[in-house]
Amino acid sequence: MAYALEGIKVLDFAWVGVGPITTKYLADNGAEVIRVESAAKLDVLRIGPPWKDAQPGINRSQFYASYNTSKKGITLNLGNPKARELVRRLVPWADIVVESFTPKAMRGWELDYEHLREIKPDLIMLSTCLQGQTGPNALYPGFGQLMAALSGFYHISGYGDGSVCPPYGAYTDFIAPRFSAAALLAALDYRRRTGKGQYIDMAQYEAALNNLAPALIDYFATGRVLGPKGNASERYAPHGAYRCEDEEGNEQWIALAVANDAEWRAMLEVLGAPVPDSRFATHLGRLENREALDAFVSRSVRGRRVMDLVAKLQAAGVASYRVQNCVDLHQDENLEAFDFWHWLEHKEMGPSPYEGLQHRLGRTPGELRSAAPILGQHNQEVLGGMLGLSATEIEQLQKENVIF
């Protein structure tokens, strides 16, 4: 069976996180994605760790590699007019163009939607940047870490004592791509029905705020500001992470959530703990005395082996699992059973650990079709094969830092 998106062609100018992760959805499902990069302005992920053997190099970053599977890579220095001319010759081939520069870049090169649609009238083009193509802060540069702070996720992360404990990494970079991939796929279907392409302006800020909707609606309605509240829940008690017995010198924690009396009784039975306190006799009582409750649960699980406890609690119907570190993840039997981890052969890095897809299609499954390209790996194939440049022309353009 063919891949789901076989035949779709994507010209991908995006860099760093959101754009490449968006086009990765398409590439892993069979679309032909050509990433246009340049040594003149390297994708910063190419120079970020983790690096193969902890040695830096533009073709040694797993950070870059993870988000660029199944793609071809060419190098064109867009600052040079000859490179832009080559881009214009590639555009008729593409169904979709994606870019993630700050908004003025593509306009400055005359490679924005208004120019490209003249070459390809039914083109679908997506621009994604932090704050959108318009508005006073459209040109704000930055990374997803900052966007996660700006879009409210840092503020709701902490113990409720004034501390801020951010989510790891560029959190919104992992919200926005699902929205932008859905946007492109919906636009493709619309084009098939109507013959019409279009332009999509995707602000990572705005997409991410969809994950904060209840708190925003609440604020506008009542003025209440959601703050950090540790692991407290208004639905579950106990609800949190509790330390179990250390294993091989590492802390082990269990996360659990108890929804009702039946689960509470089941938990007590597993813990072998006598009903500790009349305050905990009802679910509401447990919700209202969570500090004391947390202390009780902490005492009760402290000497237990975490996965043994998880197995017993789950058998009794209590939602729980180990708080997993990155080594645990690689040893996790469920991720393995889902075929999540893949070792792909990279041209320079050799076998490298890639994360697989987070979904599985039953009839037309996608997969990591190839490791990420090294810089300019497909110059010959694309510029020679597709555009018909001769070896001499390619060599000349390389000398002129056009193919660069």
Partner: protein
């Protein structure tokens, strides 16, 4: 008017908070989304907090947010008539999304195998906390449990204190959005082949994916990351990324090198204007300053970073986060306020782009509510503000009579029997 993007396509939404986002995105994109609820209402109607803290089945802020734009029908899956209705709906549907415990819908005759026999076009997405094959496939998971199993929780919080969640559950958002993408991937070949398919979404994997490739660090660099509050990086090279200011916090990662130097130079210049920069900071070659990146930090690096971070915080404490952010935008310094929802509601950028939209709830709640707007701007087929979330069973008559052709007498009998 709803977006034309997915006009004419219909989704049955049988997902709870593990997947409500999927149907929400489809509704935004213009599909008709029918939320199928038990007679007592979807559990998401009872997720606190409630609007104005008044409980009620139409007042959960979660429900209002993530079921906006959908229709609601009731069907009792424990009754054979209720199940028959859902099977009939599936015959008329293009998509279905569900998040029941693994195998539950199969056990009552509404699994993919059965429904695809009625409607081979159906795309059927199942959202599962731990996938459908591993030893934990039947495990239960609240949002915090998936945050833990997927590795994000381990990295949030302070050393010596428990790992943390976010105060607004997130795992279900990622999983629902993933189901939407996967369903649309499957949609593409279906429109020519006529064949739908089964999709399984693994929530745990969805969270692993948010870890920004940290998973590969132990393999290539030998150690795994531990939570460290406002710091980032391994213990011997940690850098502060959140600083106090007069009325809250600012996030900034002070970096050198090609990526960070222009911003750091601008910051030092600004600090110097206000008397907060020391001489070495002004003289520093920030382009070549990448301590801890290529080799371990030296004692001198550590001392410089400690002083730098200390001075930056003292500097920020003289201003509010809004003052700092405005000036940073002008000076092109890479930082951001640790914004609250109040800050976001007042943000000039979102206002200029008219991001927030009013959604009319006058008939159910006696008021309008303000929602975050479209997740993307489409030039030809814009996403419009959603209709308010439906009342329980609000569209029973429209859907069961209009779509399935039941007469009112039959509808009454089904209701009396408890099937709807």
């Amino acid at each position: 008017m709803a977006s034309e993007l997915l006009k004419g396509f219909r989704m049955l939404d049988l997902a709870d908070e593990k997947g409500a986002m999927c149907g929400k995105m489809f509704a935004d994109l213009g599909a008709e989304v029918i939320k199928v609820e038990p007679v007592g209402g979807c559990t998401t109607r009872r997720i606190p907090p409630f609007l104005e803290d008044i409980p009620g089945e139409d007042r959960s802020l979660y429900f209002l947010a993530y079921h906006a734009g959908k229709r609601s029908v009731t069907a009792n899956l424990e009754s054979s008539d209720g199940r028959a209705l859902v099977a009939q709906l599936a015959k008329h549907a293009d998509f279905l999304v569900e998040s029941f415990p693994l195998g539950y819908l199969d056990s009552i005759g509404l699994g993919y195998d059965e429904l695809s026999r009625i409607n081979q076009r159906l795309i059927y997405a199942s959202i599962t906390p731990f996938g459908d094959k591993g030893p934990a496939k039947n495990y239960k998971a609240a949002d915090i449990v998936t945050w833990a199993s997927g590795g994000m929780m381990y990295l949030m919080g302070e050393e010596g204190r428990p790992p943390l969640q976010m105060s607004l559950p997130q795992a279900g958002m990622h999983a629902g959005a993933e189901a939407a993408v996967a369903s649309l991937i499957a949609h593409y070949p279906r429109q020519t082949s006529g064949l739908g398919q089964k999709i399984v979404v693994d929530m745990q994997a969805c969270i692993v994916w948010t870890l920004m490739n940290e998973q590969a660090m132990p393999i290539f660099h030998g150690d795994f990351l531990r939570r460290s509050g406002v710091f980032v990086g391994s213990a011997d090279a940690r850098r502060k990324m959140v600083f106090r200011c007069a009325d809250g916090h600012i996030s900034i990662l002070i970096m050198g090198g090609a990526v960070g130097a222009p911003s750091t130079i601008a910051l030092v210049k600004w600090m110097d204007e206000k008397g907060f920069a020391s001489d070495w900071m002004k003289a520093k070659d920030w382009m070549s300053w990448v301590p801890g990146l290529l080799m371990a930090m030296t004692q001198k690096d550590r001392e410089e970073i400690d002083e730098l971070e200390d001075r930056v915080e003292k500097f920020f404490l003289t201003m509010t986060k809004h003052e700092i952010y405005r000036e940073a935008l002008k000076r092109r310094i890479l930082l951001a306020p640790v914004a609250t929802v109040a800050d976001i509601a007042a943000d000039e950028q979102l206002e200029a782009r008219e991001f927030f939209v009013k959604v009319d709830h006058r008939d159910t709640l006696g008021r309008e509510l303000t929602f975050p707007g479209a997740f993307a701007r489409f030039s030809a087929t814009p996403i419009s503000p959603p209709e308010r979330a439906p009342r329980l069973g609000e569209h029973n008559r429209e859907v069961y009579c209009g779509l399935l052709g039941l007469d009112l007498e039959r509808l009454s009998r089904l209701s009396a029997e408890g099937a709807i």
